[in-house]
């Protein structure tokens, strides 16, 4: 199914949704990204795997310019986000993001978390935004928590609310930055289930994850990063079945034996 979707997108001659070229990023003396090229087609699910410190999260945060690259370009559709006069705020409305630490707004209840951006940016009425938000909350199974204080939710519930919050802006692509890394093992499943559902609905997704099973079964393409470069990329069967690169093999061997 995953293959057919990629094939359909490719055959339609679809322009990439995200295109990254020659991306460099340093924090002080530490060069985190050393020239990254990456494209993400509409409808594609791309997972990024690699050891901690390999630059996956930094790359993901560069895609919506939460991290500003030192060199190189990031295109969203036909707009260069790194250009001088680019209205990044307007483009971010189309790029949803889910964080490792949930980052739900602590001064609001669940529903207000979801309606803040639509009401502020899309000029929706409060009632209309709530309607949309309740729809997304019920799709992640949390509509009865609409008026709950966010501090009362479990980690898994928080992350599902965070996904619903991002969906309320009706984004064209969703970025997931290690969405299950802060969760207890027994509740990782409920978040992955929601993400699986999103992928099945045809949402374009870029997922940084350590969940190898998710990467293998859900993604159309797996990107293995190592020391600031994309070491190897390809469909999951290839990466998990017959990795070309020595370092990919080492990484997977270490991960899969756990």
């Amino acid at each position: 199914m995953a293959d057919s979707r990629t094939a359909a997108a490719a055959s339609a001659g679809a322009t990439p949704l995200i295109r990254v070229e020659g991306l460099h990023k340093s924090f002080g003396d530490l060069e985190v990204l050393k020239g990254i090229d990456l494209t993400v087609l509409p409808g594609e699910v791309v997972t990024m795997i690699g050891a901690s410190g390999s630059g996956k999260s930094t790359l993901l945060r560069c895609l919506n310019l939460l991290e500003r690259p030192d060199r190189g370009q990031v295109w969203f559709r036909d707009q260069d986000l790194t250009a001088d006069r680019c209205d990044v705020n307007a483009l971010r409305e189309h790029i949803g993001m889910v964080f490792q630490g949930f980052n739900l707004f602590n001064n609001m209840d669940v529903l207000d978390n979801c309606t803040l951006a639509p009401v502020t940016l899309k000029k929706m009425s409060k009632a209309e935004a709530e309607q949309v938000a309740l729809g997304h909350l019920s799709s992640v199974g949390l509509e009865e928590f609409a008026h709950a204080n966010v501090s009362r939710l479990s980690g898994g519930q928080k992350q599902r609310v965070a996904i619903a919050r991002a969906l309320c802006m009706n984004p064209e692509i969703m970025l997931f930055d290690e969405p299950t890394s802060a969760l207890d093992p027994e509740i990782v499943g409920e978040v992955l289930e929601v993400m699986r559902g999103l992928a099945d609905d045809g949402m374009t997704m870029v997922v940084v994850t350590h969940e190898m099973d998710f990467a293998r079964t859900v993604s159309d393409r797996v990107v293995f990063m190592d020391q600031g470069v994309i070491c190897e990329e390809g469909d999951p069967e290839k990466i998990f079945g017959a990795p070309e690169h020595e370092r990919t093999r080492e990484f997977l061997a270490r991960y899969l034996e756990d």
């Binding site: 006069r85 680019c86 971010r92 993001m97 707004f105 803040l116 951006a117 502020t120 940016l121 919050r165």
Partner: protein, 385 residues
């Protein structure tokens, strides 16, 4: 209330120290009864009855002394060998407790008769007095009653300065901290970046200068500067005084001074907010300003509420330095009264007590106010600026 119930628990407890504890109370009653009765004293008029009460107190002390002697003789087997030891739960213990209670009541009656009624009598005499009495308490009451209007006026000005100063400072501090935490955003052009640098620099310098100099000096500077400006515009002294009164200058000083401190408190509150909050807002497309206003500011201000409300208490105390420019606050009233009678100790004691009452009451009110806003209680009285 708490201290009272603890005292009562001590009184009612069936322990052997009931002799010693109650005889301490009896001793206080005896000591108080030695004071000369005033004309309001009720007991003094009863004559024999007072002597009976007096004898009961002495009897208890004698009983305690006897108990103490047997305790010293039977150090190890006191509970079994001494006739004074009352086992808890026995009628003897109940009688002991009743006796203790009666003795305490008698001591209390003496205290009421001599101290409370005595003070009232003293106050009546002092207030009716033609000249300032020489002893401390009479003089204090005399001067406070004669200069009550001055004190009340001073208290009113102190409360007004602290309250309005704190409220004005809060809004100024909100504006200043907004300038202070500005950071360059990706989409900012050079003009915006320039303005942000200016704003940040200004608030930094403001905070450093204001917090690094005494409010007394700031007050004098602001007062005379404002006066000088009005004079430069061609107003004469009377006109200038009407517009730029000491109170106005004092209010401006306390507001501007408190702004710097509140700004730092707010900054601390805002910087304690997880940067992920702003990131999440930005990732949804909100601008820096929208993320600040809707997400970060409300949480930061809420965090800062306990420290912010402490500013009111600090201002109640610190407004006293504004008497240097002639603001008629409590301190100025106190100095004035002490100058009128040439008596210092008594008057400054009054000021001390009034300031303490003001800060304690303000602390209680602010704690309730903070709880209403969902903030954590602040705890101890804050230290001065």
């Amino acid at each position: 209330m708490n201290a009272f119930s603890r005292l009562r628990a001590f009184e009612r407890a069936d322990h052997r120290y009931v002799y010693l504890g109650t005889s301490a109370i009896a001793a206080v009653g005896l000591l108080v009864s030695q004071q000369n009765p005033t004309q309001l004293s009720v007991l003094a008029r009863t004559g024999l009855f007072q002597d009976v009460l007096w004898a009961v107190l002495w009897a208890w002390i004698a009983l305690s002394a006897a108990a103490l002697v047997t305790k010293l003789m039977h150090w190890r087997d006191y509970t079994t060998a001494s006739p004074f030891a009352a086992t808890p739960g026995t009628p003897a213990a109940a009688w002991l407790r009743r006796g203790s209670l009666a003795v305490s009541c008698i001591a209390l009656v003496f205290i009421l008769d001599r101290v409370v009624l005595g003070t009232i009598a003293l106050a009546q005499v002092s207030i009716a007095s033609d000249a300032n009495p020489t002893d401390f308490l009479s003089s204090l009451i005399y001067m406070t009653s004669r200069s009550g209007d001055l004190f009340l006026h001073g208290i009113g000005i102190t409360i007004a300065l602290a309250t309005f100063g704190t409220i004005i400072a809060f809004f100024l501090a909100l504006a200043m901290v907004f300038l202070r935490i500005q950071q360059f955003d990706l989409i900012d052009n050079d003009a915006v970046r320039f303005l942000k640098s200016i704003g940040r620099g200004f608030s930094k310098v403001y905070s450093t200068v204001v917090r690094g100099t005494p409010m007394m000096v700031q007050g004098a500077l602001i007062f005379y500067a404002g006066f000088g400006v009005l004079r430069a515009f061609g107003l004469d002294i009377t006109q200038a005084n009407q517009i730029w009164s000491a109170f106005t200058a004092g209010l401006v000083t306390i507001s501007l001074n408190s702004t710097a401190y509140m700004m730092e408190v707010l900054r601390g509150g805002i910087e304690s907010i997880d940067p992920g909050q702003a990131e999440a807002a930005r990732s949804l497309g909100l601008s820096q300003w929208q993320a600040m206003r809707k997400v970060v500011f409300p949480q930061g201000v809420k965090n800062a509420i306990p420290a912010l409300t402490n500013e009111l208490i600090i201002n109640i105390k610190d407004s006293s330095v504004l008497s240097i420019i002639g603001v008629f606050d409590l301190m100025y009233a106190t100095t004035t009264v002490s100058g009128m009678y040439y008596r210092q100790m008594e008057v400054y004691c009054v000021a001390m007590v009034v300031y303490l009452v003001l800060t304690l009451v303000a602390g209680r009110l602010l704690e309730a106010f903070g709880r209403k806003l969902g903030a954590e209680p602040a705890g101890e009285l804050p230290s001065s600026n």
